[in-house]
């Protein structure tokens, strides 16, 4: 009864004749959608990373590039800088505690060749172990341009269980020919094997053996399909035709021959390779321990109290408390987070301190994209006087700049974790720089 009701219902969406026409229209529409132009995907998604993770996990700072910008195939770009991991108390609970990591660049596949990489001067051909919260490491990456094009490359640290945290990126414009890139070297116990180009190394051997096996496979297949194949053989089985017609003695002789030739090639090839490459090593894995920089000798106690992101002003206000236990007055020069550096007007830092601040980014900005160093940090109320020895002062830093929007950090307003973190830099009159990490909850102001 139920089925009858369905069939006779006037409200049924199914009507003979109409359904197929709609289906065809739908199929044509779906097909046409695939021809819509697709935008080029730029950069590597760092701006869509959760802002609370970018600002509160690994901090890349003092990142410098040498040789980026306009490059030819084969030119080198060298990235150096420091990696700071916030202390355990402030490490995001959504991330695993770091231990094993791997230094590389984030970029579109292998457009650059990574020729050297180091964490704290330790070669990083394998993964690093012992990466510790609250400590700082240096890094160095030497990359060679390989593929012509415009490429955006970042240093990045991959962490087991977490994935990559990407440092600030830079555009490169590589010209030349892909085929011009060659990476030579040597191999063997005594370096007796000359590698003309790593990208094409031993390919003649690979192509040769694949060709041999393709020929063998085709011979075997042609042997069988040279005779009537599908339907006659199927019918012969169904109708119990003499089975010796399906597999003849010639077939069996051919099978034995193919088996012998296959085994001869397999064993002979392996013995020959063994004689030629008798000193071989298995793939190397395991981890290499790395050691952090010494803990800085800072007598400053800095606490993050609260913060507020003002949406229309694109400004982050950070209320912090600073206690200066050192014997020198200090001034605030910079707030850095997620690879973005907000610096104060250099004139507020007198003499040597101002020069030290400028020196900390002057050689960076030469090759930096402007959005990574913003002259946009101010102290609310305008009190830029030094924090004296023994003094505790509560002050509010204001970093107002469109870069919050451009870098996607303003998405903190939509984030399930509304917290901001970053590094506050202080300078004393001798030009010494002190780095302190702050982490605090963030409110949002919509007007």
């Amino acid at each position: 009864m139920q089925k009858e009701n369905i069939n006779t219902s006037q409200s049924s969406v199914v009507r003979d004749g109409q359904q197929s026409r709609f289906a065809w229209l739908l199929m044509i529409a779906i097909t046409l959608i695939t021809f819509l132009p697709a935008d080029m995907a730029w950069a590597h998604g760092e701006r869509t990373h959760a802002p609370s993770l970018r600002m509160r996990s690994i901090q890349f700072y003092d990142v410098q590039w040498q040789g980026a910008g306009d490059m030819n195939v084969g030119d080198q770009v060298i990235m150096t800088g420091k990696i700071y991991l916030p202390p355990e108390l402030n490490w995001p609970t959504t991330l695993q505690k770091p231990d094993i990591g791997y230094l590389q660049t984030s970029g579109p596949a292998a457009v650059f060749a990574k020729v050297e990489s180091y964490i704290s001067d330790v070669p990083m051909i394998q993964s690093a172990s012992g990466i510790t919260l609250g400590r700082t490491y240096t890094f160095k990456l030497v990359m060679e341009a390989r593929i012509p094009g415009e490429w955006h490359i970042h240093p990045s640290l991959q962490m087991i269980g977490n994935g990559p945290i990407v440092g600030p990126g830079l555009w490169t414009n590589v010209t030349g020919n892909w085929s011009d890139y060659k990476l030579p070297g040597t191999a063997g116990i005594d370096g007796e094997i000359e590698i003309e180009n790593l990208g094409t190394y031993a390919l003649d051997t690979v192509y040769g053996w694949h060709a041999v096996w393709f020929v063998m496979g085709i011979i075997w297949l042609l042997w069988w399909i040279r005779r009537p194949t599908l339907l006659p053989r199927y019918r012969a089985i169904q109708e119990d035709v003499d089975k010796n017609l399906l597999i003849t003695s010639a077939d069996k002789r051919m099978g034995v021959l193919m088996l012998c030739v296959t085994l001869a090639l397999v064993i002979g090839g392996a013995m020959n390779a063994n004689a030629k490459y008798n000193d071989i090593v298995p793939l190397q894995t395991g981890n290499v321990p790395v050691f952090p920089l010494p803990v800085q000798n800072s007598q400053l106690v800095v606490k993050g109290l609260s913060s507020e992101y003002n949406v229309p002003k694109r400004a982050m206000s950070l209320e912090i408390s600073v206690t200066n236990n050192s014997d020198k007055p200090v001034k605030i020069g910079e707030f850095a987070t997620a690879g973005i550096r907000f610096v104060v007007d250099q004139s507020t830092l007198s003499g040597v301190a101002g020069q030290a601040l400028k020196a900390s980014y002057s050689n960076v900005t030469e090759d930096y994209v402007e959005e990574y160093v913003r002259d946009a940090l101010a102290i609310k109320g305008g009190d830029t006087s030094a924090i004296l020895p023994g003094e505790t002062r509560t002050l509010t830093l204001v970093a107002a700049d469109a870069v919050w929007e451009i870098q996607g950090l303003s998405k903190i307003v939509e984030s399930p974790v509304r917290r901001v973190g970053g590094l506050v830099y202080f300078f004393d009159a001798d030009g010494n720089r002190y780095r302190e990490y702050v982490d605090m909850a963030t409110d949002v102001a919509y007007r």
Partner: protein, 278 residues
């Protein structure tokens, strides 16, 4: 390419029938080859992908085991189908050749030209020697059980040994930043995979179960042992696949057709091909 043959003569076929069947062969065989090769490629890339994609994943421990088990699932089933339906011991060679062909197409166009990885990093392993070896054992023994014991058991050995001449140059030692590694590791280091850091590789590690330094041997032994059971399972499943079942389409009504009657809803095995399952 003969039209007439002892088989067609035994079936009392007319010349016209012979020509028609031969034309059917010429049309269908390339299609079957392309479909099988594509399907097998998809299966193999999903199950043994990274071990076959990258030169610095082709290790001594996991590569023989994972690759063999992944291969024998599909290849065993196709070999069973080809043997049961047309009594041709070419199933494993057919799909092995197709797989390697598809891999070369994918590695060259996708990995090399599109993603810029050098061919020295992404060349595929060959399976054709394995296919010929196991097919020939099936031809000689005429038995799935004997093939599994004397063919499939040696599958990982043949696989590794037939690929070793290509792999050996990549195991030669070299020094990178003062660390001695095989050339394969150097290639994986230089031509980096953005989303796949070194620690994600699932390769032999220096654990306490290092198998006494005889990793190749033990891996091939274990891979062959497991492959026997996988092979027999899929040979059996291919037997089910040779029985054509029919069932009315329950969604026909919604596609502009008519609703099937109740009697069409039962799953039934067609009577004719039962003798194909032996």
């Amino acid at each position: 390419m003969a039209y007439s043959d002892a088989i067609t003569q035994a079936l009392d076929m007319s010349t016209n029938e012979e020509r028609t069947y031969r034309m059917f062969d010429m049309i269908v065989i390339p299609i079957v080859f392309a479909v099988m090769a594509s399907a097998f490629h998809l299966h193999y890339m999903l199950t043994a992908g990274d071990w076959d994609f990258w030169i610095d994943w082709k290790d001594r421990l996991y590569w023989p085991i994972v690759s063999s088990i992944s291969f024998i699932i599909f290849a065993g089933a196709v070999q069973g189908l080809m043997w049961r339906l047309v009594r041709m011991p070419i199933g494993m060679t057919l799909v092995g050749t197709g797989l390697v062909l598809m891999e070369w197409i994918s590695r060259y166009y996708n990995f090399h030209l599109w993603a810029y990885f050098p061919m020295s990093q992404v060349w595929p392993a060959t399976w054709i020697a394995v296919g010929i070896f196991v097919d020939a054992i099936l031809l000689i023994t005429g038995s799935a059980l004997m093939t599994s014991l004397f063919g499939v058991f040696f599958l990982p050995v043949i696989f590794i040994t037939s690929n070793y001449p290509m792999l050996a140059p990549f195991r030669a030692p070299t020094s990178v930043m003062g660390t001695e590694v095989p050339v394969a590791d150097w290639i994986g280091y230089v031509f980096q995979r953005g989303g796949s850091p070194e620690y994600l590789r699932i390769i032999e590690d220096a654990g306490l179960r290092l198998l006494g330094g005889e990793t190749w041997f033990i891996s091939c032994l274990f891979g062959g042992f497991v492959s026997i059971f996988i092979y027999m399972l899929w040979w059996w499943i291919s037997g089910i696949a040779t029985r054509p079942y029919s069932r009315s389409n329950p969604l026909a009504e919604y596609m502009g057709g008519t609703q099937p009657s109740d009697k069409d809803d039962a799953i039934t095995a067609d009577a004719y091909p039962t003798s194909a399952v032996k």
